[in-house]
């Protein structure tokens, strides 16, 4: 156990150092995220002029959604899975396969480093934004809400990890997986509520996204935090997350098993 912690701890430490080393790239990444958050903050501010409620959200709930989205995106969507495509297609993954290390474990440690850095920055940005613009925030009244939120965020992280790895496995069969991956990411961000709360959408479209695993990634945890989910919605939301984690665990595991058999180390 100690050797495992030391092994993957080293990957985590090196990945953290790498992220900090490429400062310009990192700062640019954060500037991009801030731009998107700012656009939506400005947009919702305009829409809320002369209104106290919109799509069932109070002004503080909407701003908390927009800023909370920035934090949750950093926690859930920050990863290095694009690297996996490159590593498979260039044959670089062979270096890891022949070493006494689990590739998935290695990637998880690498992803964790990315999440730590981005999460820390996201908190800092939100704090600056709230202080500068005096943004009203909605804070949960009950500590149980916070616990439920944390649990749903952890489940969302596992769910995204599985989805992301399943899509990355496509690279075992084709060198053309970059395009499908791009399409998947864009669809996922919209359907997860990463740009706006799904309640804005027509009910039919919202129900489809809630049935699929996407809404469980951001929309569901944020709704828990905003205390908008009824006990029944909470139960069905958690069941949905667990069900999709079970399905995707099976799918991802099978895809990687088959993928590794199909892998022929091109370029490696």
């Amino acid at each position: 156990m100690i050797s495992l912690i030391r092994k993957y701890g080293s990957v985590l430490r090196i990945s953290l150092q790498q992220s900090i080393y490429y400062r310009a790239s990192f700062l640019m990444d954060r500037a991009r995220t801030i731009t998107i958050v700012f656009a939506f903050y400005a947009f919702w501010s305009t829409l809320f002029q002369g209104r106290s409620q919109l799509a069932g959200y109070s002004i503080s709930q909407m701003f908390t959604y927009v800023l909370g989205m920035n934090i949750l995106r950093s926690l859930i969507f920050s990863d290095k899975t694009w690297e996996i495509l490159r590593e498979i297609n260039t044959g670089r993954i062979s270096y890891y396969l022949i070493r006494p290390i689990s590739y998935i474990g290695y990637c998880s440690a690498r992803d964790l480093a990315d999440k730590i850095i981005h999460l820390f920055s996201a908190f800092l940005e939100v704090w600056i934004a709230v202080s500068l613009f005096n943004i009203p925030l909605y804070l949960p009244k009950s500590p149980v809400t916070l616990l439920a939120f944390l649990l749903s965020a952890v489940l969302a992280m596992i769910l995204y990890f599985l989805m992301s790895y399943a899509v990355s496995a496509l690279a075992f069969w084709t060198a053309e997986s970059g395009g499908p991956r791009f399409c998947f990411e864009l669809f996922l961000e919209f359907a997860a509520g990463a740009f706006f709360p799904l309640d804005v959408l027509p009910a039919s479209l919202k129900s489809i996204f809630e049935f699929l695993p996407f809404a469980s990634l951001l929309y569901f945890p944020l709704n828990i935090f905003l205390e908008r989910a009824s006990p029944a919605a909470l139960l069905s939301g958690f069941l949905n997350q667990i069900l999709w984690i079970a399905i995707l665990s099976f799918v991802t595991r099978s895809l990687w098993k088959r993928g590794l058999k199909a892998y022929c180390s091109e370029g490696g």
Partner: protein
């Protein structure tokens, strides 16, 4: 001019063949672009289920702003996509190769990747614009209609010029530093603020989006001109700003080339 057309056509043909060869990947990229376009469109229409107007604009008008943003943005990507690759070109030595070719290096770099997928996404955008235009223009008399359409076209071209200038500034920065090519993605995100009418933003940010990062001039001014709500002094300002920016970007490119030290050779 003939030489440049010929080179552009040849490069376009090569890009097209490359995209056809990687058809699954191309389909994915195309799918992503369509998903982004359709979802924002759905979002805009869905918003109007909850509010009667956005910053005083109706659904048709907001849609028109969004479509104009797409026209300018897609045209810029179609013609200047190659600049996105300049960092790689420098690192891999291709930049040296472009500099010795008998065409302007900026033209060669910009045309390096002509994205036909952007051309395909432009078609539905133009069709939708054609459908929205009659609703926007209403029953205008012929001279007024012609004037607004000409002004719209000119301001869109002006927007593409601004986009070109910003791309050149980023290319210059990359040549100087060899690591700032990700700035282009920041530009893309800042440009995405133009999806909504600039009036959505506070006065201070509107000023920033006009004078510092002239995204409002690039994508909002053409729509405002067509709606007949852009004053003549703002029209003059749009052309003045783009001229200044173009001169500045070409100057910075020349200066950056003097500092180029062929890293990979």
């Amino acid at each position: 001019m003939k030489k440049y057309t010929l080179v552009w056509w040849k490069l376009a043909e090569m890009s097209f063949l490359m995209q056809c060869a990687n058809r699954w990947s191309s389909l994915g990229w195309l799918g992503g672009k369509i998903v982004r376009f359709v979802f924002f469109f759905i979002f805009l229409t869905a918003i109007f289920r909850h509010v009667p107007n956005v910053a005083g604009y109706s659904l048709t008008q907001v849609t028109f702003f969004y479509l104009t943003f797409n026209i300018v943005d897609i045209l810029a990507q179609l013609f200047f996509r190659g600049i996105y690759m300049i960092g790689r070109d420098i690192r891999e030595g291709d930049m040296d190769f472009y500099l010795i070719q008998p065409v302007h290096p900026l033209f060669r770099i910009s045309s390096n990747l002509i994205d036909f997928l952007d051309f395909l996404t432009l078609i539905p955008v133009l069709v939708l614009t054609g459908m929205v235009l009659p609703k926007i223009l209403g029953a205008l008399n012929f001279p007024e209609l012609t004037l607004r359409l000409i002004l719209y076209g000119l301001l869109c071209a002006n927007g593409v010029t601004i986009a070109f200038s910003i791309h050149v500034l980023i290319a210059s920065l990359t040549v100087r530093t060899q690591q700032m090519e990700s700035t282009v993605w920041l530009y893309r995100d800042v440009a995405s603020l133009g999806r909504f009418p600039s009036d959505v933003y506070s006065e201070l940010f509107r000023a920033i989006l006009t004078f510092v990062f002239p995204i409002a001039v690039m994508v909002s001014f053409p729509s405002k001109a067509l709606l007949g709500i852009l004053s003549w002094d703002k029209v003059a300002l749009a052309f003045f700003l783009s001229s200044i920016l173009l001169a500045l970007s070409l100057g910075s490119w020349k200066s950056a080339l003097k500092h180029y030290c062929s890293v990979s050779s």
